[in-house]
């Protein structure tokens, strides 16, 4: 029999392969040096991520392995976000190297790298099978990382909670994928889009099966993104897990969920969106989840006394804002989502880096212990204030532009068609809840600056942590006043999803 392998192109996969091998190098380096080298292994990991970034820059657009591996603008943009998140998470975990993860440094950094590899594969997949495997390769190392302080009751509890939710949600997602596969007869997302549209036009009775698929997949991805009503794990896991891991979760895992959502729903099920598709419509379901996320995340965060928990609720709210961009099915929607994620990465990683540094010194994550910090650590307080203001969306910081573009995309869509006028409601809720969010972000600033007590803490900042904070600070300010290069890059994304500017 004449059998031919489909054309493959290993060159496309070079950054992923390199990063995977580097994770193995990190594992073995730790063992060969008898777990003695404390900071060397951290720097080794940072160098690996940097080299991967350089390789990514030299890997052009294209496809390999049949249609299974795509390097489109979306994949490259999100790979930069994943690598950035991993870099900053590794950079801010130098403080816990010495005491808390003394015997497992190699595993810690190796698992972060492996999870990043999973995210990168996920971003490049154009096909349900590799998408599912990428998602699992992302989350399984994260289960272990969340429970990494083996002797800490909180960390282990956070780990098991994340594990249960993660395993349950991936089973839900898989069930939905199996129905999608059954209806379309293919796992390729673009082919699936065509087949589903044809099936829908020929037989009008695929409704119920599609509803099952859409609901289970929404639940599965909603769990990963932390969208209400599937959000209960987020604050628990953020509070219990090691702080750099919580930071990595909040950016990496969320961006991975967003990519999966964009590929399955915005691309694959794009025909089933909008009020005219009512029984099969996923757009309004997602809009409802986004409204719940914004309201619930922003209000419950006000009563939090633990800063990691507060950032957890804030990340639920941010997921709600991002989903506004997702349900806006036009040219601006996806690029505004990508820009939002990019700006959010700097602000959130920076805030978490400072929380990590503070926790390394004082062992406390309570908001009350930040009282009077501006007197003993003025620089650190100022940067934390800037990150929090960017998260709240105050101009001229990057967070403001991010929110602006998401809302602008929704308003543009709502103006263009009568049937899309429900998007005005989304924008309205978004604007009102942004005002709420200012309260709890400003509360920390108030504790730091306007408290009569003096803080007893002098906070030493190690060189890598300083570098991470500096990068985040530059990013938050620079892309707030000069977003054009990123916007241009993000503007290429919708074209690969079939959205073309009029």
């Amino acid at each position: 029999m004449d059998f031919q392998l489909p054309p493959y192109d290993l060159k496309m996969m070079l950054p992923e392969i390199f990063l995977f091998l580097w994770a193995l190098v990190v594992f073995t380096f730790d063992l060969l040096t008898n777990r003695k080298k404390e900071t060397a292994i951290g720097y080794l990991t940072l160098v690996g991520i940097l080299i991967t970034g350089v390789l990514l820059a030299f890997t052009g657009y294209g496809r390999g392995f049949g249609n299974m591996f795509f390097n489109d603008p979306m994949a490259r943009f999100f790979k930069i976000i994943f690598l950035g998140a991993a870099f900053m998470a590794v950079g801010s975990s130098f403080g816990i190297l010495k005491q808390r993860i003394r015997n497992h440094r190699g595993e810690y950094f190796g698992l972060i790298l492996l999870s990043t590899v999973g995210m990168m594969f996920l971003a490049s997949s154009q096909e349900l099978l590799s998408l599912y495997i990428g998602l699992e390769l992302t989350t399984i190392p994260l289960f272990v990382l969340a429970a990494f302080y083996k002797d800490d009751k909180l960390s282990v509890e956070a780990g098991i909670k994340y594990f249960i939710v993660g395993a349950f949600s991936s089973a839900l997602l898989l069930y939905g994928i199996s129905f999608l596969y059954g209806m379309s007869g293919t796992t390729d997302i673009v082919q699936m889009k065509i087949n589903l549209a044809i099936t829908h036009l020929t037989f009008t009775n695929i409704g119920m099966t599609l509803v099952i698929a859409v609901v289970t997949m929404l639940a599965g991805i909603g769990y990963k993104l932390g969208l209400p009503p599937f959000h209960q794990w987020v604050p628990d896991v953020y509070e219990g897990s090691p702080t750099p891991v919580a930071a990595f979760l909040s950016i990496g895992s969320k961006a991975a969920g967003l990519v999966a959502f964009a590929k399955i729903f915005v691309n694959g099920l794009s025909a089933f969106h909008g009020p005219e598709m009512l029984p099969n419509d996923w757009g309004q379901l997602v809009a409802l989840m986004a409204i719940l996320a914004m309201v619930l995340g922003n209000t419950v965060a006000i009563w939090q006394t633990n800063i990691k928990r507060m950032l957890g609720y804030s990340s639920i709210a941010q997921a709600g804002y991002i989903m506004i961009g997702m349900v806006t099915m036009n040219v601006y929607g996806l690029s505004s989502v990508a820009f939002y994620m990019f700006a959010y990465m700097f602000a959130n990683m920076g805030a978490f880096a400072i929380v990590t540094v503070f926790e390394d010194k004082t062992g406390s994550t309570q908001i009350a212990s930040y009282r009077g910090l501006s007197k003993s650590a003025p620089g650190l307080s100022l940067t934390l204030a800037i990150f929090l203001l960017s998260l709240a969306g105050i101009p001229p910081l990057a967070g403001f532009l991010a929110k602006y573009y998401v809302f602008a995309a929704a308003v543009e869509k709502a103006n263009s068609a009568d049937s899309a006028s429900w998007l005005y409601w989304l924008v309205g809720v978004g604007l009102i809840t942004t005002v709420f969010s200012l309260y709890y972000y400003a509360n920390i600033i108030k504790q730091m600056y306007f408290s009569r007590e003096d803080s007893p803490y002098k906070i030493p900042v190690s060189a890598p942590a300083m570098m991470v904070i500096a990068i985040c600070l530059i990013g938050v300010i620079l892309f707030g006043v000069w977003p054009e290069p990123i916007l241009q890059f993000a503007g290429d994304i919708p074209a690969s999803f079939g959205f073309i500017a009029r």
């Binding site: 599912y132 699992e136 289960f143 083996k150 395993a167 199996s178 596969y181 796992t187 509070e239």
Partner: protein, 100 residues
Amino acid sequence: MVPISAYLIVGVALFAIGTVGVLISRNLIVLLMSVELMLNSANLCLIAFSRSQNIMDGHAFVFLVLTIAAAEAAVGLAMVITLYRNRETINIDRFNLLKW
């Protein structure tokens, strides 16, 4: 030949049992087993669809899902052991240190 709907009904039943098991069981090991049941119901659906339409993608999918389920179970069981060392129980009602 058995019609595809028969397989799907078994799949839905397995999925429902798994979901209910995850939601109501108080024992972590039972919970892990319920998740496996859910994955297997998805596997059954994949195989049934794949066989009925004569495309082999579903078969490949199932093998990879089995691998992933094994990895997940390994991590899960390791985590259960760690948890038992710390708390001396695997009843999930007792894991309430983190709330609100």
